[in-house]
């Protein structure tokens, strides 16, 4: 049954919130400033409002309901204690312009989180400013830009991006005013060293590397890659999207990365929220640390925490101090897991991915036949004619599973990218593999089952072309 819109539930005069009675005189509002016609917001009762959103919520797939094997998204469990701590009044009701002496708890939390992230990643300094991974990328690239500028090295106009990269990577370097140059992958899924070398010259500002990369593979030649870029005067940005594979196992800063962002909403268990908020702190070492955006929490010699702007900072990326509520959740997670817990999480994430890859390898062969990290990419090339991985993905919905990421990375034909995360039990992995097996069987004997899937949801596949051709971007019931 269809879900009514808020406006269908409305009736003039119905309301949830009663306005407090006024204890002051009415002021004059000049007529020319006053709104002529009321904004047509809904008019519903509190019960109907709660029912509306309760009902909507049940139409969502979520980690809390089932397994979410979305490659590159790290859909791990979002602990409930994180939600409690972030809602503590001392955090949630604190104002960003409260004098720092009166919010030392906030600053200590920020400082401790900066320290923890730095220790885990091998960077000297961390800024918590960026609101999400993509803003972290922009931050890092702008830092590299300003670094070169500060040295008078102004000819570096290009930025290298592997062909397996997330779309945010080239978009971020473009926003920073660079031209993206694509680097090919080799036959083992690594950056093609020869191609890289052919591209590296004094026009290169840097390279953006996701490692493990989006194929779920650790760059086997990572040290050579870093060396090559550094040799031509470029810097190396690490996209931390896949940090969940290597916590406590290798520190990017020690490998030679110059700057990197963390996706706290992936690796540090903060919820994805149906699209956000995230948090994308950036760590940097060496000379780059002075370019970090601020303010950054520091501990002064008198034991007070302070907020400081790094001396050559690229400036603010965000008002105030980043997505603080997300930082509270991430710090809660850091304390809960501890150093060895984080390492164990990465080990289990990688073990689970390899285990699951092994279970389905005969029907959905991994594109590169290597041990994977926390995710693996298979190809649906061998599926029967006319069956795409998208069909398989949609059919999974009928079995109660969320589709994996499909058609990405772009360099793998009919890609299917699976990331189980460490918080799913082996029983869940087994069940998922069994269903994949069943669907692959169906694809041979009853392909329509896949083409028409999903069958049991409120809506089946939606016409995305029509959505663009005849855009309806707000509820037509309203004014």
């Amino acid at each position: 049954s269809k879900v009514s819109s808020l406006w269908e539930l409305s009736s003039p005069g119905r309301r949830v919130v009663q306005t407090p009675s006024s204890d002051v005189p009415k002021a004059e509002l000049p007529a020319q400033l006053a709104r002529k016609e009321d904004a047509d917001l809904p008019e519903v009762s509190e019960l109907d409002l709660i029912r509306h959103y309760t009902r909507l919520s049940t139409l969502n797939y979520s980690i809390d309901t089932r397994f979410y094997p979305l490659g590159s998204c790290t859909m791990k469990y979002n602990p409930r204690i994180n939600e409690q701590t972030a809602r503590m009044a001392g955090f949630a009701a604190s104002h960003p312009y409260t004098p720092v002496q009166m919010v030392q708890g906030n600053l200590e939390l920020m400082y401790s989180l900066q320290q923890g992230l730095g220790e885990l990643s091998g960077f000297d300094s961390v800024s918590l400013q960026p609101a999400a991974g993509a803003q972290g990328e922009l931050t890092g690239v702008l830092m590299i830009k300003k670094y070169h500028q500060s040295r008078g090295d102004t000819g570096r106009t290009h930025f290298l991006i592997p062909d397996s990269a997330h779309g945010t990577n080239p978009a971020s370097v473009a926003m920073a005013g660079f031209t993206a140059l694509e680097v090919s992958s080799d036959k083992r899924g690594n950056i093609d060293l020869d191609h890289l070398k052919s591209l590296c010259d004094s026009s290169i500002a840097g390279i953006m590397i996701t490692n493990p990369n989006t194929l779920g593979l650790f760059e086997e030649n990572i040290l050579e890659v870093l060396q090559t870029v550094h040799d031509c005067g470029g810097l190396v940005y690490g996209d931390g999207a896949n940090l969940n594979a290597i916590m406590g196992i290798v520190k990017p800063g020690e490998l030679g990365f110059d700057v990197m962002h963390f996706n706290l909403h992936k690796t540090f268990s903060t919820p994805h929220g149906g699209g956000g908020p995230g948090a994308g702190p950036v760590g940097a070492g060496g000379a780059l640390r002075d370019f970090l955006p601020g303010p950054i929490a520091t501990l002064s010699s008198n034991g007070q925490y302070e907020l400081v702007q790094p001396k050559k900072s690229i400036g603010r990326l965000k008002t105030f101090y980043g997505n603080f509520g997300v930082l509270v959740r991430a710090y809660t997670y850091l304390l809960s897991q501890g150093g060895s817990g984080l390492r164990e999480s990465s080990e289990n994430a990688v073990l689970s991915a390899n285990y699951l890859m092994g279970l389905v390898k005969d029907i959905l062969p991994p594109w590169y036949d290597r041990a994977c990290m926390h995710e693996f990419v298979s190809s649906g090339e061998n599926l029967p004619d006319g069956i795409h991985t998208m069909d398989l993905a949609k059919r999974l919905i009928d079995y109660g599973f969320h589709p994996p990421t499909v058609y990405f990375p772009l360099i793998v034909p009919e890609a299917l990218m699976v990331e189980p995360t460490e918080t799913e039990s082996v029983e869940t992995l087994d069940a998922f593999a069994a269903v994949l097996r069943e669907i692959v069987k169906e694809s041979k004997v009853n392909p329509e089952l896949l083409h028409d899937a999903p069958h049991q949801e409120l809506v089946s596949r939606l016409d995305e072309v029509m959505a663009v051709r005849k855009p309806i971007l707000k509820n037509p019931k309203s004014s």
Partner: protein, 433 residues
Amino acid sequence: MSYNPHTAEDRQKMLETLGLSSVKELFADIPEAYRYPEVNIPEGLSEMEVKNRLSSLAGANQNSEEGLWFLGGGIYRHYIPSVVDAVLSRGEFFTAYTPYQPEVSQGTLQALFEFQTMVAELYGMDVVNASHYDGAASMAEAALMALRCKPGRQTIYLDDNIHPEYKEVMRTYLSGTKAHLKEGLPGEDGACFITAYPGFTGEIKDLKALSGLAHDAGALFIVHADPLACSLLESPGACGADIVTGEGQPLGIPMSYGGPTLGLFATTKKLIRKMPGRVVGQTMDASGRAGCVLTFSAREQHIRREKATSNICSNQGLLALAAAVYMAAMGKQGIKETARLIYDKGAYAASVLDKVPGFQVKTSGPFFREFVLSCPRPARDIAHELELKGIFPGLALDRFEGFPESDLLVCVTEMNSKNDIDSLAAALGEVSK
């Protein structure tokens, strides 16, 4: 405290299946010298211990539930109806991913679709996206969009009423481009002219006049508008705005030390293909059933990569949901009444504080929520003295360049009673002596 379900036996079973003896073997691709480094992070704690630690940090903060609170300046203390967190706390919402698979994401999608509709109503605009990081990021993205809309024009003109931190963010964003910021009315090189509504210090400008100036110069007219204020004041859309940005925090979002909040972004139908950020549209399935999808994704980074309108990926989805619940809960009448209450209380506060000897309200003309109070001594000192007594009289504006040290920005919302205001007046009277 670990969230890993794998028991020792589970790990053993999995390793055996893989023909491995240790999980370490899976990390052979990592250069050996760097593998398994020392990590100086303490052992994990139990939930009880973690909660104690976080409680003690939270307890070390002054929070706005205590004391007399008149501190604003971009983040505001408004009442959050109980239904907001009740909805946000549902795991099906907060543990969901971005709704790329519409068949199993109609909850988030319809909620965002309705969010877009309500913001469009308040702003009087055609199209609203599903959020940016915060108000400043929205404004910066609007400037970048103006540059795309007006190729060849490289100046972003700002009105004199833009929040100083927003200007900092804009500057950072623009450092990736050839464009630059300039304060003043737009010239021929202007891609856009941006004004705030109300301004950083609360005053309400005549948008229609500004719209005319901007358009006459061939620039886009961008209004950074407070969504609550727009329920009372003429909408930016009705005044000719091409783009409207806003900070959605007043719409049911906790202050949370400044984040996460919610960047609002609206534009006209004409400009939709230039707009950054996700947008939800309604369409149909093969059986003619209506449903929502993420649409116009050809603008976005995951499709268009370096040619995208923005790099934005994760946005502030859950906060957009909060704002949706808030707007629906306030409703057509409630939101306007609340805005009116804020307007009236602000006026009352100004009238009372203006009478305190030595103090003078600088803001002339109508304002919303905030006004500038000129103090007989540095505002910073006065604020400091009162804060020690649990009274937060406002924001000393000299923290920002260009403001005199006497200026105090006083914020009044529906949460401040007449008594609170009178007490503030009395306290200021005391401290000025």
